[in-house]
Amino acid sequence: MRLLKLVPDHTNVDFMRWRNLAVIVSSLMTIAALSYSAYRGFNMGVDFVGGQMIRVSFAQPINVEQLRSRVDQLHLGEASIQEFGGPKTYQIRLPKPPGGDAAANIAATKTKAMVTADYPGARIDSVESVSGKVSEELAENGAMAIIFAMIGISIYIWIRFEWQFGVGALITIAHDVSMILGFFAFSRLQVDLNVVAAFLTVVGYSLNDTVVIYDRIRENLRKYRKMAILPLLNLSLNETLARTVVTSLTVLIALAVLMVVGPEVIFGLSLAIFLGVVVGTYSSIYVSTPVLVWLGVTPDSFVKSEPVATPGVEKA
């Protein structure tokens, strides 16, 4: 059987040739994504701003405007109604009422009563009601987890490799996270707890590629002491390219299936991870690797710290 080789043997792409262009593009994109996120904000779900969200499956397709006016008649503040997963499924978002927790309860109850009375056969799929206090805590915890993950992984890379690699990892994660933030700000997809889980996964997975490439760079730095840094980085990238492509594809296959046939509730989570894998694959080549050049990684970077290990490595 002839096996599929997406990356032919002896591939030799001069990745580093475009590194300046790539860095300019990446920096501009990162700045654009962050400023757009800051300017436009996110479509935060009830998890992070409080309020209620009710998901309803109707027996037959309904007139959205009619539903909207019926919800408005309940005078529960500015409601938002969105289709969710199909023409018969809708999600009704209600803002946090000023009257506190008891009022929130009443708002959800009223809405449910209206739906069951006006739309026979409608099914209340889920109700989420989050108070302002809890939503603040959830948002804070989510942000903390992402920041700690970024720092924790960078410190780990620093300990396992060298400080330049730790900094490179941190910049890479920051780049990837900014991109996805920008995407969520742009697409207006709802940011909920699941999306935070996706961000953390992206932090882990985007680093997966980077670590594999860093690992090869370290190996080659020890092996080819006389090689200049740019050809060495190119060599390492090419040697790991087949693996980068195959692994990214398997993960993307699994995620694409999840997005297409999986449960609607976790579509946002799957999409965020899917994008994270795409962005992470790009950044492991064009963000994490060029950074090492500016931070001055040379073959000596490893010799100094591990003088004992060097002879064995040279022999291999």
Partner: protein, 530 residues
């Protein structure tokens, strides 16, 4: 590489078989589970509320309510302590404003005695010698009682312990349902009830403090003053539950819900729903005595500081049975009966987070999740097969074994599978082969450089290990943080990812290495099909 001792082969197979064995009960439909032999493992993965359907409620103690209650109790204590003979201490201007109690001792020579009496009723907290109230004197004869921080914390702790039990009894009077009621932090209770049809009823049951009190109506009160909310000393003005005005009642509690033996929903002679209560021996005695002394006077039945009704005492009620009416429906009478029977909540609880998922949506999610897992696995398997041939087959066997191992480990720890957990599972399938991709690519590379077959395989596994190790640690860091900071469903996602990292290293590295070694040893291939 070929040196793969028999004990290693056996132990790897043993781990794989045990893992599969543990995963099977979770995969069987409930009906088939009964036929599963009892000597085999039978713990299963539990489904999160987002898959099984049910309600998740986070309740928070109302600290203001607790503080108010403590002040009231202390105020009563002040009155009774000072009113005790030998000799009584005359006090005036008792106030609870500003979150503390202060009162004037009329006779300045009695100030020290009053302080002494108040000190004796405060209680020590913990081992540090702190009391639950600070007793101080200002302006020579004014005594001020301030609740201490540790006293408040202690009171909260005690209240939460009681509240947790009360909540459990209210939701599940029979003690038969699989519900979760746990305290979180210092002032919260997490309630999870699977398969609940009506979360509103649940919230009503928990939302009611159910403090039932019987007090005499103060007939001497001036109706005009009562309307303005003012009551004579020793009395208080309380609103009627139906909103029709208010009434002055004596502060002294005749008998309270603490002295109940049982409460049931019943009907009065006109067929209207009521709550029938029965006092315990002590309560019955007190109720009998007070009704005897107050025949032909009205008394008020008060629930959570609202007057339900104020019937007249026609004759002494001696048997300890009473009937509460007050415009109930059968359902609300039933709910009140359950609440009364389970005891009053020591502190008011507010619902600060609710997540309810209908059983249909949950079943739909499971179905779609399973389909996605199967198609995703099939896609990855096909891709690995056409990319790596024989080595892809090994990776695929490892992948399937990995799936079983994840389920098996989750079942052993009785872990909860949530909807994001399904995503974690599918993602793990995609990522688990990464170790094999690293190994196989490295083998290809080493072989291309001219190494012999066995040498290539050996070097491939050895060199790939560094990258596999580092890459997996990054996953562990992010998944561990997710498990630590995340709540419910997200934690379920993190748990699956964490387990997946561990099992995938085992299957992708040790298990495939064994398969490859056995093949190389038995077949001695002339070419490397990779």
């Amino acid at each position: 590489m070929l040196d793969f001792p028999r004990w290693k082969v056996l132990s790897i197979w043993a781990i794989v078989l045990i893992g599969i064995l543990f995963s099977i009960p979770s995969l069987l439909p409930p009906s088939a589970r009964q036929h599963w032999p009892s000597f085999l493992p039978h713990s299963t993965i539990s489904l999160g509320l987002d898959l099984a359907g049910g309600s998740h409620l986070l309740l928070e103690a109302d600290l203001q309510d607790l503080t108010k209650q403590r002040l009231q109790t202390m105020e009563d204590t002040v009155t009774s302590e000072m009113g005790r003979g030998d000799p009584t201490i005359a006090v005036s201007d008792v106030s609870t404003s500003g979150g503390r109690i202060s009162f004037l001792v009329t006779d300045p020579t009695q100030v020290d005695a009053a302080v002494e009496r108040m000190r004796s009723v405060t209680q020590g907290v913990g081992l540090t010698g702190t009391r639950d109230w600070d007793v101080g004197v200002v302006d020579l004869n004014r005594i001020v009682l301030t609740p201490t921080n540790s006293g408040t914390q202690e009171a909260l702790k005690n209240a939460m312990t009681v509240a947790r039990d009360v909540v459990r009894r209210r939701i599940d009077p029979g003690g038969t349902k699989e519900i979760t009621v746990i305290t979180e932090g210092s002032d919260r209770i997490l309630v999870q009830v699977p398969g609940v049809e009506n979360p509103e009823e649940l919230k009503r049951l928990i939302g009611q403090t159910a403090r039932l009190e019987f007090k005499l109506v103060d007939l001497a009160a001036d109706p005009q003053q009562v309307q303005q909310g003012r009551a004579p000393a020793g009395s208080q003005v309380l609103p009627m539950a139906d909103g029709a005005g208010s009434m002055a009642v004596k502060r002294r509690v005749m008998v309270s819900g603490d002295q109940l033996e049982s409460a049931r929903q019943g009907f009065d002679q006109d067929g209207r729903p009521t709550v029938d209560i029965k006092f315990n021996a002590d309560g019955a005695r007190r109720f009998g005595r007070v009704t005897q002394e107050n025949v032909n006077k009205p008394f008020a039945i008060i629930l959570d500081d609202k007057i339900l009704s104020a019937p007249n005492i026609n004759e002494p009620i001696l048997g300890g049975n009473a009937q509460i009416s007050g415009g109930f429906t059968v359902q609300s009478a039933n709910e009140l009966a359950i609440s009364l029977a389970s005891g009053k909540l020591p502190v008011k609880l507010n619902v600060i987070e609710e997540r309810t998922v209908g059983p249909d949506l949950g079943a739909d999610s499971i179905h779609k999740g399973v389909v996605a897992s199967l198609i995703g696995t099939a896609g990855v398997i096909l891709f690995m097969l056409i990319t790596y041939g024989r080595f892809g087959v090994y990776a695929n066997i490892a992948l399937v074994v990995n799936g079983f191992l994840i389920l098996g480990i989750m079942a052993v720890f009785n872990a909860t599978l949530t909807l994001p957990g399904i995503a974690g599972f599918v993602l793990t399938i995609g990522a688990a082969v990464d170790a094999n991709v690293l190994i196989n690519e490295r083998i290809r590379e080493e072989h291309r450089r001219g190494r012999k077959i066995i040498d290539s395989v050996e070097t491939g596994y050895r060199e790939a290990m560094h990258a596999i190790y580092d890459a997996n640690v990054t996953h562990v860091i992010s998944a561990a943080l997710m498990a630590y900071f995340g709540s419910g469903p997200v934690r379920g996602f993190a748990v699956v990812l964490l387990i997946g990292v561990v099992t995938s290293v085992f299957t992708a590295v040790f298990f495939t290495r064994m398969l490859v070694a056995l093949w190389l040893r038995n077949k001695r291939p002339k070419a490397l099909p990779i």
